[in-house]
């Protein structure tokens, strides 16, 4: 069992643990940013307010996870959030999926993400590093509302009676499925973390994917929709977002997100 003080961890363990947490922080940061782009554009006013609030929740979760990572790396949360090159981000390709302001594409992305995030947090609650376990518990409690929200939308689109809506959400679920699976790519050094007692890896990518699939298959069936088939093997994913390999879109999004920060990185807000 490793010390509870990260300063005493070997460098490779600290790096692996930071990468693990960054995967969650970067996912939250980018899905929150994508969600915030819908402010003013959601299908109805009440939904607009609710979804903008969800976007702010995701950014808050990212901020707390960045602060935790910053403590490990001796950097500020802002510096970790805004001060990295694109290849230093650990988000999955799902959160970078462009929705082209199509509500069904957004709901599919959010559905796959919220359920993955809930599962990841449930496993992080068991982390041997108390600050991560405690924070995960608090974030998971807030995510409960996101799950209610997105599951309701899935049923609404699937069973609402509109053939158009049903076809659109089904197509959106199929199109995003490979990216949904890609969330299960492991960050570097996860095996070392298990050995050190900091995190058991959720029993491995294949086991976590099995848990995930059971939950979302039930929700998709409840919405009267078909579970997508095929897709990549979650246990043998090629190096992707979790190893810093991203589509060019990430750099474009970061140019926008980091524009103000880069003007004066040491400014005090």
């Amino acid at each position: 069992m490793t010390s509870s003080n990260p300063a005493e961890w070997p460098e490779h363990i600290r790096r692996a643990f930071a990468d693990l947490v960054l995967a969650g922080a970067d996912d939250d940061f980018l899905i929150g940013h994508g969600a915030s782009e819908w402010t003013g554009l959601a299908p109805m006013l009440e939904e607009d307010i609710a979804f903008s609030s969800i976007a702010q929740d995701e950014i808050a979760h990212a901020r707390e996870l960045y602060a935790l990572t910053g403590d490990l790396l001796g950097r500020t949360a802002d510096d970790v959030a805004y001060g990295r090159r694109p290849d230093e981000y650990r988000c999955s390709s799902l959160v970078l999926r462009a929705d082209e302001f199509d509500w069904s594409a957004l709901i599919a992305r959010q559905f796959y993400y919220d359920h993955f995030d809930a599962l990841r947090l449930a496993h992080w609650c068991e982390s041997g590093y108390a600050p991560l376990a405690d924070l995960s518990l608090r974030i998971a409690a807030e995510e409960t509302f996101h799950l209610h929200h997105v599951d309701d939308w899935l049923v609404r689109l699937g069973r609402g009676g509109s053939q158009d809506a049903r076809q659109k959400i089904q197509a959106a679920l199929e199109a995003a499925w490979p990216d949904a699976v890609s969330q299960f790519e492991e960050t570097a050094g996860v095996a070392d973390l298990a050995a050190s007692g900091l995190w058991q890896g959720g029993g491995g990518a294949a086991a976590m994917f099995g848990e995930y699939k059971a939950v979302i298959a039930e929700r998709i069936a409840k919405a009267g929709l078909r579970m997508p088939a095929g897709g990549p093997d979650p246990a043998h994913l090629p190096p992707g977002g979790r190893r810093g390999r991203h589509a060019a879109r990430l750099a474009e999004v970061l140019d926008e997100l980091c524009e103000v920060y880069r003007l004066e990185p040491n400014a005090k807000w």
Binding site: Q56, A60, H61, R63, E64, R138, I139, A141, F145
Partner: protein
């Protein structure tokens, strides 16, 4: 008999507050009884009755529903500091030099 929930407004413009519940056979009886029970004994300007079966509560899981993560940026309270920062900046003697430099760079 069905259960109706009663809400009263104590002063014009205020929110209606839950006052209690009563049994009635229908909405008309519920309103008549609510006026008697809640609308007259205490100061009140308006009464609502609602069929309890038509209402829904959130699941009572015991889980908190408020926010547990730090989201203080949702409150626009940082603006109070802007004036102080701005005044501090303006009082600096090097502002003029900075502005001249700025003018030289851009014009």
């Amino acid at each position: 008999m069905k259960v109706y929930e009663v809400f009263i407004q104590v002063r014009p413009g205020q929110a209606h507050e839950h006052a209690g519940s009563l049994d009635a056979t229908d909405m008309d009886m519920a309103m008549a009884l609510a006026m008697q029970h809640y609308g007259r004994d205490q100061k009140c300007v308006h009464v609502w009755v609602a069929d309890r079966d038509a209402m829904r509560g959130s699941e009572a899981t015991g889980e908190p529903v408020f926010r547990l993560t730090d989201q203080d940026y949702r409150f626009a309270k940082g603006y109070a500091e802007v004036r102080k920062k701005w005044e501090k900046f303006r009082n600096k003697s090097d502002v003029e030099a900075y502005q001249q430099e700025d003018l030289r760079d851009f014009f």
